[in-house]
Amino acid sequence: MSHPTDTAGSAVAPRRKGLTRRGRRRLSRGAQYTVFVAAVIALAVSADWGRLRNQFAQTAIARQMFPDVIVLALKNTVLYTLSGFVVGLVLGMVIALMRLSSVGPYRWVAGVYIEIFRGLPALLIFIFVGVAVPLAFPGMEIVGGTYGKVALALGLVSAAYMAETIRAGIQAVPRGQMEAARSLGFSPTRAMVSIIIPQAFRIILPPLTNELVLLFKDSSMVLFLGVTLEERELSKFGRDLASQTANSTPILVAGLCYLLVTIPLGFLVRRMEAKAQEAVK
């Protein structure tokens, strides 16, 4: 398209033939919008909205889910998540400290744990906890029944991620902090607990909250453990009701309940990240 005289160095640059730079940019942007709008319209027109509404948005069925979906299912989801988070946090902290230890075997054990549990799907770990543990230790009950099992499974999964996060947080605390603490007579352990870890947690609060969001969603795998009616969480509850009513509205409602928690949490994370950014300045 470019004209032969349109080369650098010519004294008077002649105007390009055809469109200017700005004109071409506008045209390209316009084409992208057109394609997007066309795709949306095509989808909206071709979808069978009537059947969709029938399957997913039956107000009568949705109404029938309340209040159980909140007081039972959402409550259980939150309980499972929090218990898994606590187990993961404690275990993750131990593993992070082992990973930073000057004792070789501690570091190796922690490294192996992290590699294994980061590499396995959460689903397999749930099956492992639900099936393999009772087989291996017959007669032994995991404390807390289903709640204990879920806390263990979610904790095992999240500990690997949290250990790496906590380790990064501890390493992000300047070296001078440990030196100052030691020079004041703190033992290494006491300095870690009183000075380093509180600062590390400030640094890793956003990624830890993200981990909480992930756990919140992973708690849906409880359904592979086999739960009683009273122990059902959002996904299981929604699925059960969906098969009972032969309608998918409960799935939609359950999904909305997840978003009810995860979106504010995500918002919180971004707020904390922005604040941390501010503090650095």
């Binding site: 001078g176 902090q177 100052a180 603490a181 020079s183 004041l184 007579g185 009183s194 000075i195 600062q199």
Partner: protein, 264 residues
């Protein structure tokens, strides 16, 4: 100097890998003495100071503070460090704690003082460094000079017998240096045993009982400020001082001295 030495360093060596930073240091510091350690960067003066409270593990040699051998593998190093206050170039205040908490937390956790006593000691030491009104501020809201004075107060609150200063004014804006030096001068007058790594020649001349000049990991010259700063005997000391006092003059010589340093 017939008093018993508070700090005694014997044949101290320290290497980082192949890099031998300290090559046999012998030094005694009497009780109540103020000793300034001066020398070019990389001369090992900060490493020497950090070896005195074992923040750096010496490769060889002995360090005694108040009669306790710190280099003894069986020594309770945490207990020994309680008697040694240290002030860092970068202040190293705990940023997540207020000024008062910076002073009270170590007292409570390490010395097991009760809350009231720790608070009293904190307030007293903040008053000494002239920062009583900043008790509830966070370190990030203070100027560098104020932070460094808080760091001094934090060390003092532990009731140390010896204070180590590692270039305490090097990270400060020039106009803030004076306040920190004034606090250090006050401590010296109160009879605190002090070992100060510094570039502040005025402070060294006026406050120090002794000045130690280090270069290349050894003590080159050791004497009163009048001797070492006023009338240095060694060429290396003279060279260093002339560069420090008039940096513009030394530029031409730089390459020559570098070559001389390497051939040693």
């Amino acid at each position: 100097m017939s008093r018993t030495p508070e700090i005694r360093i014997r044949d101290l060596h320290k290497s980082f890998g192949d890099n031998e930073v300290l090559r046999g240091i012998d030094l005694e510091i009497g009780q109540g003495d103020v000793v300034c350690v001066i020398g070019p960067s990389g001369s090992g003066k900060s490493t020497l100071l950090r070896c005195v409270n074992l923040l750096e593990e010496p490769t060889k040699g002995q360090v005694f503070v108040g009669g306790t051998e710190l280099t003894d593998p069986d020594v309770d190093i945490d207990a020994a460090r309680r008697r040694i206050g240290m002030v860092f170039q970068q202040f190293n205040l705990f940023p997540h704690l207020t000024v008062t908490e910076n002073l009270t937390l170590p007292q409570r956790r390490v010395l097991k003082r009760d809350k009231a006593q720790a608070a009293r000691t904190a307030a007293e030491n903040l008053r000494r460094v002239g920062l009583a009104e900043k008790a509830d501020a966070y370190p990030s809201s203070l100027s560098g000079g104020q932070q460094q004075r808080v760091a001094i107060a934090r060390a003092l609150a532990m009731g140390p017998e010896v204070m180590l200063f590692d270039e305490p004014t090097s990270a400060l804006d020039p106009e803030l240096v004076g306040d920190v030096l004034a606090v250090m001068r006050m401590l010296a007058e109160e009879g605190m045993t002090m070992m100060v790594v510094t570039h502040e020649m005025t402070f060294a001349r006026e406050v120090a009982d002794r000045v130690v000049f280090m270069d290349g990991g050894v003590v080159v010259e050791d004497g009163t400020p009048g001797q070492v700063i006023g009338n240095p005997r060694h060429q290396r000391t003279r060279h260093f001082l002339s560069r420090l006092l008039d940096p513009a003059m030394a530029e031409v010589e730089e390459e020559i001295s570098d070559r001389a340093g390497k051939s040693e």
